[in-house]
């Protein structure tokens, strides 16, 4: 742990001295690093990290990525994303490489955008997310705030084309830190896809964050797929700040990483807003995927639906920590949390933990979790109709994921969701699992 602490400190000092920016940004970095230090690094003794052992990770050493201006080769993206009618934004090792321009949407390198902000604007756009739930992964991301993209959709605009952000890593032993800030102004609407992948056989640390700012009466659907290689460490944050009457659906598909921490933090900060938080963690070999949900209801009359599902194979491990916080002002909150897990091996393991903190008296808050294996009676039924064992298993596994689709209204996202899930099924030889 000491080794890792020093590693981060050295990286920060290099970074801080070489990257002078606006005073606002410099101070933010410095304060975030101070906050990171005072938080300390988590261990199994921390309630929020009790199912994820970081000791192996702490032994690694990473070098904060040296900036270069390599252009991302768009031929690298998988066929399933080969669309002509979308707006592409390419990040290469966290840094904005290039992008398609599109009407009524501002797309800009994060640092250059942020440097132009005065302290009030900065507070609203960047720091608004940092107030609550201090967590080392996000403080670290704030300390190194520089790379990433800022996207702003103008007021009243309905995006004609989805925005697809490609995130690609290819640098061995690198520490890549980047943040995407996506700002939907009042009454705007659109779809955002983030696709993260890497070359094989390199180990790296990605400390990424995506922060949504959703204005009044916005309507946004988001899909995040992470297929980073299975030697990588990913500390990811997704934060959403929702204003009045905003509707948000996020769907996460995780197949990558050796160790994955997936923090999701929607804040229902405007009356009448609504958040669907969907996820599918698909793990195999010795992957470890820790999903930490923190759904925060601040204003009254908001709904949240969490549906997270895990399919775990081999000796992989999963964690679902579902925290819901209902503040005292948030009357008539309707919050529902569901976690379901399908274990495909005797050695796969999942820990699931709900945590409800309710300070308002007129709320509806439910949670439920299940963990099981493929139902043998159902398998027998399918086989008795002539369906081979392998196909019958695949039908059962596929049916397990089906419930998520009901929440997705965009066909574009629906088709992508299906194709990435099928890809994992195909690559994982599911039918041959014990």
């Amino acid at each position: 742990m000491e080794n890792f602490k020093k590693n981060i400190k050295d990286n920060f000092e290099d970074f801080y001295s070489q990257n002078t920016s606006s005073d606002v940004l410099n101070n933010f970095r410095k304060n975030s690093f101070a906050s990171l230090n005072s938080l300390g690094l988590p261990s199994l003794k921390d309630e929020d990290w009790r199912f994820t052992d970081l000791n192996d990770f702490y032994k690694s050493t990473f070098k904060h990525r040296i900036q270069d201006n390599k252009k991302f080769d768009s031929a690298l993206i998988p066929e399933s994303l080969n669309f002509s009618d979308v707006t592409f934004v390419y990040l290469y090792n966290g840094k904005l490489s290039h992008f398609d321009s599109t009407e009524n949407v501002k797309i800009e390198d994060l640092e250059s955008y942020v440097s132009s902000l005065d302290s009030n604007e900065f507070e609203e756009i960047i720091n608004g997310h940092s107030e609550k739930n201090k967590d080392f992964t996000f403080e670290m991301n704030s300390s190194f705030l520089k790379d990433g993209v800022y996207i702003e959709v103008e007021k009243n605009i309905k995006l004609k084309k989805p925005i697809v952000i490609i995130n690609y890593y290819d640098s061995e032993a690198s520490f890549v830190c980047h943040r995407n800030v996506i700002n939907f102004q009042d009454l705007s609407k659109g779809q955002i896809v983030e696709y993260t992948f890497s070359i094989d056989d390199i180990s790296f640390l990605s400390n990424k964050a995506t922060c949504f700012l959703l204005g009044n009466s916005t309507n946004v659907e988001h899909l995040s797929v992470d297929e980073s290689n299975k030697s990588s460490y990913i500390l990811s944050n997704l934060k959403i700040s929702q204003k009045k009457d905003s509707n948000f659906t996020t769907d996460t598909i995780l197949t990558g990483g050796k160790l994955y921490r997936n923090n999701v933090h929607p804040v229902l900060n405007g009356e009448g807003s609504n958040s669907n938080i969907l996820g599918l963690y698909l793990s195999k070999d010795n992957q470890h995927m820790d999903n930490y949900m923190f759904v925060e209801h601040i204003k009254p009359n908001c709904d949240s639906r969490q549906l997270y599902k895990g399919i775990l194979k081999d000796t992989s491990k999963g964690v679902f920590h579902g925290r819901i916080l209902v503040h005292n002002e948030a009357q008539k909150t309707d919050a529902k949390q569901t976690n379901r897990n399908l274990l495909l091996s005797e050695k796969a393991q999942v820990d699931t933990k709900p945590q409800l903190e309710i300070y308002a008296d007129d709320v509806k808050c439910t949670h439920g979790a299940t963990t099981g294996q493929i139902d043998n009676e159902a398998l027998y039924y399918l086989r008795a109709r002539g369906i081979n064992l392998e196909d019958a298993k695949l039908i059962m596994i596929r049916s397990f994921t089906e419930e998520l689709l009901e929440f997705i209204s965009s066909n574009f996202i629906l088709d992508l969701h299906k194709s990435f899930v099928e890809k994992w099924f195909l690559n994982s030889q599911l039918a041959k699992s014990e």
């Binding site: 159902a378 039924y381 399918l382 008795a384 109709r385 397990f400």
Partner: protein, 246 residues
């Protein structure tokens, strides 16, 4: 077509079938009646290939070949069909997808080309109409939220789409009202033919008014204790089973 020879079977060390012998020829309809716990459903499950049973003695021949080592799907592909007493609900799998997968698996095993969705739906819709069911069932999840009667009719629908040569009906009549019973019976009768055989397992004689059997057998404590024609069913209905028990 189906020959069961001196079959002994255990579940968790308890002997359920104690030497059951039965021969069903092509085109014949046999009925097995018997009290609760006599082994009727065990027999049905064993024929379909369920793996929870230990066969300690005996053999089952289908078209002259032993099927003892065959997986459930292989038996289904050979033409054995079991209409379940308690059909399983599978959320997230539509009837349409399930039935097409099943039919195409069977077709594939015979070397036939798989049916395209459009071709399949056409066949399925005809059969659904015959069984007086609603077409919307194709898009519903398999048996999920179905009433008892709907589930049983769905079993018969599967049977008529998969077109097996040996159908085993495991208490398909239980839980059906008289109208549903007639619909199910009509569905079965429509599938009868010179090359199709049936084994109808039931508690009650009632169903056999509609599906008239060639032979009736009484199963008590894992053995067939009496066989006869359809009049035996009527006799059982009036006298019960106790006169046949030791």
């Amino acid at each position: 077509m189906l020959e069961i020879i001196d079959l002994h079977a255990n579940i968790e060390d308890k002997e359920i079938l104690k030497g059951l012998t039965l021969k069903i020829n092509k085109g014949e309809v046999h009925s097995i009646m018997g009290p609760n716990g006599s082994g009727k459903s065990t027999l049905a499950s064993i024929l379909a290939g369920k793996e929870d049973y230990e066969i300690t003695k005996g053999d089952i021949l289908f078209n002259g070949e032993s099927i003892m080592e065959m997986a459930p799907e292989e038996r289904a592909q050979e033409g054995i069909f079991l209409a379940f007493q308690y059909p399983i609900e599978i959320p997230g799998v539509t009837n349409s997808y399930f039935l097409r997968e099943a039919l195409n698996s069977i077709r594939k095993s015979k070397g036939d080309k798989p049916l395209k969705p459009v071709e399949f739906v056409k066949i399925a819709k005809e059969k659904i109409k015959d069984l007086k069911m609603d077409e919307s069932l194709l898009n519903r999840s398999l048996n999920e939220g179905f009433s008892g009667g709907e589930k049983k009719r769905n079993e018969i629908l599967q049977m008529s789409i998969l077109n097996p040569c040996m159908s085993i009906l495991d208490e398909t009549d239980s839980g059906l009202d008289i109208d549903a019973l007639q619909i199910v019976a009509n569905g079965v009768n429509a599938n009868r033919g010179d090359d199709k055989s049936f084994l109808v397992i039931t508690h009650y004689q009632r169903l056999l008014n509609y599906i008239v059997p060639d032979f009736v057998h009484v199963l008590i404590e894992g053995r067939i204790v009496k066989s006869g024609d359809k009049s035996l069913a009527l006799e059982l209905e009036s006298k019960g089973y106790s006169w046949l028990e030791n």
